[in-house]
């Protein structure tokens, strides 16, 4: 190892290149892990907050046409949710497909009957109100800017809502538009109308009806905490009244699940390019190093060094350089991720910001990287570095002493 250590001093520039060849891929991979985790968290939060919650308790599978079955909210379920320490928050929703009409215009919408006093905790709509205010009681409604434009309505106008649920039949009512919200997704701004839960219940003529109980689980900060959700699902499924089903966010937002499943393999493949480039630099550096040292390696072989000793000396150098490079790169990457997060996250540039908005995400990424990801990135780069040095080391180990000692550089 002393020989390996001293060799680093011999060709400092080459040692520096080898160091950097391990440093940059590890740095980039760790930062990329941070960004992808930030994206995943953003998507997870927007999907669970805007649409699904961490899990939902429903009355069964979706009906024809996409409507959710109605069910009577059992008292024991409410008691169970109140008492369960694993549940952070829950609220009841009654979603009804409906036709919204104002004046001579009408448009197909999804009416969400919500509990206004509980909804602020989990839905961004109260905070997205751009005109007027959020609903406070029965008979009131908020609509998206796009729907308001299509129906040509303003705050204070009346909105006729004609619901048509396959189980409850037709229901109708008039709600006063008390607020207009700026939706993060165009589809949402065009189709979602929120009214008081009691208003929606009145239209289906069932005072205790619901289509879903949206539940948030304690201790979940992103998709990486999905195990907590799964645990809660299992627990609920065991004790749930008959006829009710539990759906987790993976079932409720399959496109998010798909993205989460492919994001890391895609990242790994992308990072692979940097690793291959890093490996090529290491290979080149060690090949030149062995070529320059041919005579010296011949002497060492002549003195009686085994092939294994030569391999170990050269791979030791590779391990040392790529280990230090990758470790520093990984640590710096983790430091950058930590620092960016401490400064409030990564504000994305214009075009990318729009892209994120389209997916309902805020244009600030909250980066996150785990010690395992840092360790994995470092170890992967060290592995690549040692593997890249293997061929030059193997060549060096097979040098014939006399031939090598005649070598002239």
């Amino acid at each position: 190892m002393r020989y390996a250590l001293r060799n680093l001093r011999r060709a400092r520039r080459r040692a520096l290149y080898t160091f950097l060849a391990a440093f940059y891929p590890a740095l980039i991979l760790v930062i990329m892990f941070g960004i992808v985790a930030g994206e995943l968290r953003g998507m997870f939060e927007s999907a669970t907050k805007l649409e699904t919650g961490h899990l939902q308790i429903r009355g069964g599978e979706e009906l024809a046409g996409g409507a959710l079955p109605l069910f009577e909210l059992p008292d024991e379920l409410i008691f169970r949710l109140r008492e369960d320490a694993a549940i952070r928050y829950w609220t009841v929703r009654l979603d009804l497909p409906a036709l919204a009409a104002a004046g001579s215009r009408s448009y197909g919408v999804l009416v969400q009957g919500v509990e206004p006093e509980r909804i602020a905790e989990i839905s961004p709509i109260p905070s997205l109100i751009s005109q007027g205010s959020y609903i406070t009681g029965p008979g009131e409604a908020v609509v998206g800017e796009e729907l308001a434009r299509l129906l040509d309505i303003e705050v204070g106008d009346s909105l006729v809502l004609l619901s048509a649920h396959p189980e409850a039949g037709m229901g109708a009512g008039v709600a006063k538009v008390v607020g207009i919200f700026q939706a993060p997704q165009a589809e949402m701004g065009r189709t979602v109308v929120q009214v008081h839960l009691d208003t929606a219940r009145k239209w289906v003529r069932r005072p205790n009806a619901a289509t879903a109980v949206v539940v948030f689980v304690n201790g979940v900060s992103g998709p990486w905490d999905a195990w907590r959700i799964n645990q809660a699902v299992e627990e609920l499924q065991r004790t749930l009244p008959q006829g009710l089903v539990v759906k987790d966010f993976e079932e409720l937002a399959p496109e998010l699940t798909l993205y989460m499943r492919i994001a890391r393999p895609v990242l790994a493949a992308f990072s692979g390019i940097f690793f291959v480039l890093g490996g090529l630099v290491v290979l080149n550096a060690f090949y030149l190093s062995v070529l320059e040292r041919t005579r010296e390696l011949g002497v060492i072989r002549a003195l009686g060094a085994s092939r294994r000793w030569i391999m170990r000396a050269i791979l030791g150098e590779a391990l040392l350089l790529s280990g230090c490079g990758a470790a520093l790169g990984g640590l710096l990457g983790a430091g950058i991720v930590f620092l960016v997060e401490q400064l409030g996250g990564l504000r994305m540039p214009g075009a990318y910001s729009e892209f994120l908005r389209a997916f309902g995400m805020e244009p600030i990424l909250h980066l996150r990287v785990t010690p395992w990801e840092v360790l994995g990135s470092v170890l992967a780069m060290v592995g690549v570095g040692v593997l890249a040095a293997w061929y030059p080391a193997w060549k060096a180990a097979r040098l014939e002493p006399v031939e090598a000692m005649r070598h002239v550089t």
Binding site: R2, R10, A302, L303, S306, R307, W309, V402
Partner: protein, 231 residues
Amino acid sequence: MSHEPVLQAERLVKIYRTDSVETPALRGVDLVIQKGEFTAVAGPSGSGKSTLLHLLGGLDKPTSGEVFLEGKPLSKLHPEALARLRLKKIGFVFQAYNLIPVLTVLENTAFVLELQGVPYRERIKRARAILAELGIEKYADQYPHRLSGGEQQRVAVARAVVGEPAVVLADEPTANLDGENSRALIDLMRRLNETRGTTFLFATHDMRLLDRVNRLLTLEDGRITSDRRQA
């Protein structure tokens, strides 16, 4: 000096082949080196001295014939077994010193012991002892490039003998030294031969150095033309 053969060559032939050209370097050398001998192989350039030393040291394979080291034939040995044998039984001194430039004098001297697996403390102790014996202990922490040619070659001799090999093979060890340093180096080797009983076989074309040897082999055109013992 005992009559115990350390090195033995039987009908040693070495022919270098490049494309269709064959160049015979050794044309059937028979030789026995006894334990404790201080032998010189003299001869003009191209007479086959280096080739003979390479074959005797197991650094190269003969075209035909056999080399025995302490009775063990070398030609059938796997390169790794040959390396182990060199490590334990043969010390080398090369014409161009060939010290490892990134190691200090002490580390260069202890290098063979490190390869032999001798524990750190012991190898440092033994390396220091031999450096002291050769009068170059003061250079222990210097790097080779700071030393003169004569000093570097002394370090090479220290490295060759520190592992207590059965024989030290020195290929033109004085070729890069001036007359005074050449003489001093041969005297040093002779002293080690006398005090430690180390067997030395060295090649040289400098006739002025031959009065110190107790056996002189003359090699000409790949053949031993004379084998003279002297007091």
